[in-house]
Symmetry: C2
Subunit: 612 residues, 2 copies
């Protein structure tokens, strides 16, 4: 049936290939594939988090770098706390516990909207930051590409957009390759680095010429800023708890094990890299990442292992960006189902809704990349507000969840989530304080703006719903339909429209505006052959205008009967090539525009297909 359809091409272009429901089960995740699919964002952030700590501390001189290690330890402790906090969410929401849902159900609609707005901003920044960091890994290895940083970023963005629009099959196998490749590369790097360190073979890295070593005092604020920047290591940790239903049964248990594994890996990698960057005196710059410098020092510049580490870093970062292409449209669809976003984002079985989400995400990510020149460090201040707002709301929602449910042992659960909420809340305040002036204000303005859009959309849909209700509705008694066909002469498209119109009503009238008596006479003659049972109405035009007499006549017809619809039929040319659209149907468009707001008036276009 589907093969014999004449719509398949159009359908595929518009909608993509649909995925039947019964296939969905085959794609469930094991622990191994789940880790690969859901942890790229969290694991990849270790590729840049250490750099941000060092880049902040260096303004207070080389000595200040000693504080990088305690800061990293604090951050990994936080990461462990948040991991346990989210582990509870997994068991409480085995059908998926995204921050929007948890905050909305437990705290209230507004908290849910704040979480949703934060997450949408966050996903957009995940794309921009991950791609920028991935491209930094490329230009670290190939500095000659540095002038094309923004262009390469946009190229990756375009590939991700096209890939996702056409529908990348999110099979674990494909995702497993870069994720495990990255984990293995980084552990290899760390192992060799530690071996060198233990055997006294450390050769400090030469600082990049552009790196400035500052002489400012090491203030509390500077330490807090370094800490806040390092907290990027925590981004992405929520992904597993959002995706619980994607796991094989027992879903919650598998998801929880995956989450813990992910956290352990991230903590080890982050601590290892931070320790080694300090030991090798790495000073990351806008031109070369810390991991790349470490790779050169440990594995040797230009060696194959070095290039493998860089390739793995780029791959996992692009993969991390790709996860946002699943998250953003899914969240937009959920929010849209609650009527806070336009229907176009709501998934109704077609791929179309996701396409809209993908295009919106790509557009905003592209704006950010261009505006911030693809510089990861410049994007950073914007990044973390959204992440920590949703962390805090989600954990707070869980506390309320436990208090409401009061199931056995609820106090322990509430305590763990409360502790998580408290520490992420504190980090949020630190991030807001240290980052607002550096650019986070953009996000602090954007989130309320997005919420305003949510509310306006919802208000409008509610208004519409109240206007559509059938309660107390008395349909008008209209039984007659006067069909009018404005014509500019008689030709094949007009005759076809007449024949169509005559199937609709017993009162069909062709309306012609007389601007040239000779042409009018010709028309009257032709009417005897082609007019059929359609009456010909000829209107005078004192001002040589065609539109005005026509509109006045329609008005007159409508005033004649109270039980009447007026249907205006316009022949519409459907050209064979796109540019030919410019040459047709302009007057039809005008008439449609003029009649759009008239009650009980319907405009119908009868297509006339041009062969060439």
């Amino acid at each position: 049936m589907s093969e014999s359809s004449s719509f398949p091409t159009l359908k595929r272009v518009l909608l993509g290939q649909p995925i039947p429901s019964h296939l969905a089960h085959h794609e469930r995740l094991s622990r191994v594939t789940g880790l690969a699919v859901l942890s790229s964002d969290a694991l990849s952030s270790v590729a840049y988090a250490t750099d941000f700590i060092i880049a902040t501390l260096i303004v207070a001189g080389m000595q200040a770098l000693d504080d990088a290690i305690p800061i990293a330890v604090v951050i990994t402790t936080l990461l462990a706390i948040v991991t346990f906090s989210y582990r509870q969410t997994i068991f409480a929401y085995p059908t998926g516990g995204g921050a929007y849902r948890v905050a909305k159900e437990n705290i209230g609609d507004n908290a849910g909207l704040v979480a949703a707005a934060s997450l949408l901003v966050d996903y957009t920044l995940t794309v921009s930051v991950s791609i920028s960091a991935g491209v930094l890994a490329i230009i670290s290895a190939a500095p000659s590409l540095a002038p094309y940083r923004v262009e390469i970023c946009l190229l990756f963005l375009a590939l991700l957009t096209i890939g996702n629009l056409r529908g990348i099959r999110e099979s674990g196998q494909i995702f497993a390759v870069p994720t495990y490749f990255f984990v293995v590369s980084i552990f290899m790097l760390i192992a060799i680095g530690f071996y060198r360190y233990a055997t006294g073979g450390v050769v400090p890295v030469e600082a990049h010429p552009s790196t400035e070593i500052g002489t400012k005092p090491l203030t509390q604020l500077l330490l807090l800023t370094a800490f806040a920047n390092g907290c990027t290591a925590m981004t992405g940790v929520e992904a597993v708890s959002d995706g619980v239903p994607a796991f094989r049964p027992p879903e919650a248990k598998n998801a929880a094990a995956t989450l813990v594994t992910m956290a352990v890996l991230a903590i080890c990698m982050f601590l290892g890299i931070t320790f080694l960057e300090h030991a090798y005196r790495v000073l990351p710059s806008h031109a070369e990442s810390g991991v790349s410098q470490l790779g050169r020092a440990i594995l040797g510049s230009g060696t194959i292992p070095y290039y493998l580490v860089q390739a793995a870093t780029t791959l996992i970062l692009v993969l991390a960006a790709n996860t946002a292409y699943a998250d953003f449209p899914r969240l937009a669809s959920i929010v849209s189902r609650d009527r806070y976003l336009p229907r176009q984002f709501m998934n109704q079985g077609d791929r179309l809704a996701f396409s809209n989400g993908i295009l919106v995400l790509s557009s905003f990510a592209a704006i950010l990349i261009v505006a911030f020149h693809g510089d990861t460090e410049a994007l950073l201040p914007l990044y973390m507000i959204g992440v920590f707002v949703s962390f805090t709301l989600s954990q707070t929602g869980m506390v309320i969840h436990w208090r409401t449910k009061r199931s056995p042992g609820w106090q322990t659960s509430a305590f763990i989530n409360g502790f998580g909420a408290t520490v992420t809340g504190i980090v949020l305040v630190i991030v807001a304080v240290t980052k607002t002036l550096e650019g986070a204000w953009i996000v602090l303005v954007l989130i309320p703006l997005i919420i305003a859009v949510f509310k306006a959309t919802r208000r409008h849909y509610d208004h519409v719903a109240s206007q559509l209700t059938l309660r107390g509705y008395e349909p008008q008694k209209r039984v007659h339909n006067t069909v009018l066909i404005p014509i500019g002469g008689i030709q094949r498209a007009v005759v076809e429209a007449l024949r169509y119109a005559e199937t609709l009503s017993d009162d069909v009238r062709a309306v012609y505006v007389d601007v040239d008596p000779v042409a009018t006479e010709q028309l009257r003659n032709g009417w005897q052959t082609w007019g059929g049972r359609t009456k010909l109405i000829v209107l005078d035009s004192p001002f040589r205008s065609v539109m005005e007499p026509l509109l006045e006549y329609i008005e007159q017809v409508q005033s004649e009967r109270a039980d009447d619809y007026v249907t205006v039929i316009l022949p519409e040319f459907v050209p064979a090539r796109w540019w030919q659209h410019l040459l047709h149907n302009q007057r039809a468009l005008l008439i449609k525009g003029a009649l759009l707001f008239r009650p009980n008036t319907v405009v119908t276009s009868v297509p006339f297909h041009l062969a060439k």
Copy 2:
């Protein structure tokens, strides 16, 4: 009647105020107003033509400037020849002898198209060059405005666009003021300048610091280039012959007298300014025009007479730009009547067609101003190709006209036009040779491109006409109409669409795609109350898609009967505010798109007006 209409606001916005035919006669031009209305382009060009000659010669040193005067004399001789040549066109074409018409009727369609393309380019450049030169007069008097040159140009362009869109009344009185103001100012300047010269009171102008005096040899080519640049003085001379029917009777005689007066004025002003700029050793620059420097030297910097000259120059140049706003849409309308341009440019009694021409003209003029930074001298190489192509074609056409007609004394007439064609043809070759590399190649590429657009448009309209012919046409015998209403549930807009549909056919079916059995059951219950005589068809959707089963059902209905139209009725929301459009009708748009190319299928939107 018109006052009681409910369309007046919309009509006025869309169409502007129509001008009744019987009023048109009152606006006929006398010789005095005719000169003012039709000569601003020709007269204003003396404000910059001399500057271009001097700017070309100066690369060969101060000595070379002595050649400016003989060059100017040659140019004025040419201007006199062309004037007499066009004087003949006036008598031969008393209903208006534009280059398009003369070339088309006498040489052939292709020559007409070359003339039309050249003129459209020429009018666009008239706008850019005149505005740029007018703004140069302003920044000459107020150098502090120089950094905003492009912005001021665009401001004037915007004012002209808005003024013309709203319909500037082209009454002679308004035009008379700047034109005669300019003529009087320049003659005053020349008179005082000559008096000073005669009484030995000449103080040479100090060269602008940015002016470079070259040391190149004074070659033939340089002299030719200077001559070609000076020929800008001849632009606009054809305007009177295009506008013959606008004159009071006897039209041709009045027009001819006006043309000769204009030429005499232009020649005197051009020679006077050239002589004085040479005498006062004026070296025009990008920052200050020659007339401005002359004004400072003769009238005194910062004096009121000086500012009056600058104001008059700006005004007449803006006026010259404004004439293109009448010429471009008029020519586009004539070409469109011959089906070489889209119908939208064809004037059919409404102002709309002219609005399209105005918008196209403004857009291209804006591109030129921005691309060439509002620099008159930089735009110059592009300007003259179009002018001299149309001059040459028009004069050549006249020669053929006389030879075909062979009325008494035709040899003299043919000789005069032939001489005109020859000299303008020679100038065209000189311009093409000296200017191609400097930018004229853009125009040499553009003109064939525009002709290609003309031909493609005509070819398409011819194809359409052949598909629309009624000769040998047998209309299909279709007598039945199956009306389908895809619905997603039952609400007021759906019920209104059902009631409308039931007036169209005895076979009305609502089509619903079952994606949720509970919702389907609810719908079936509601149908008993609201369904009326419309059948409810429920379709299964194995892939959870809504579109696919719908499209397949339509296909199935069409395959059932051969004498059937299928009308698909969609409720369409008409929102109260523009942004609400984004929230509605997306699925309707998709269905329309999917059905657009299906034969015998008509899609009708029944509007549902939202109150808020």
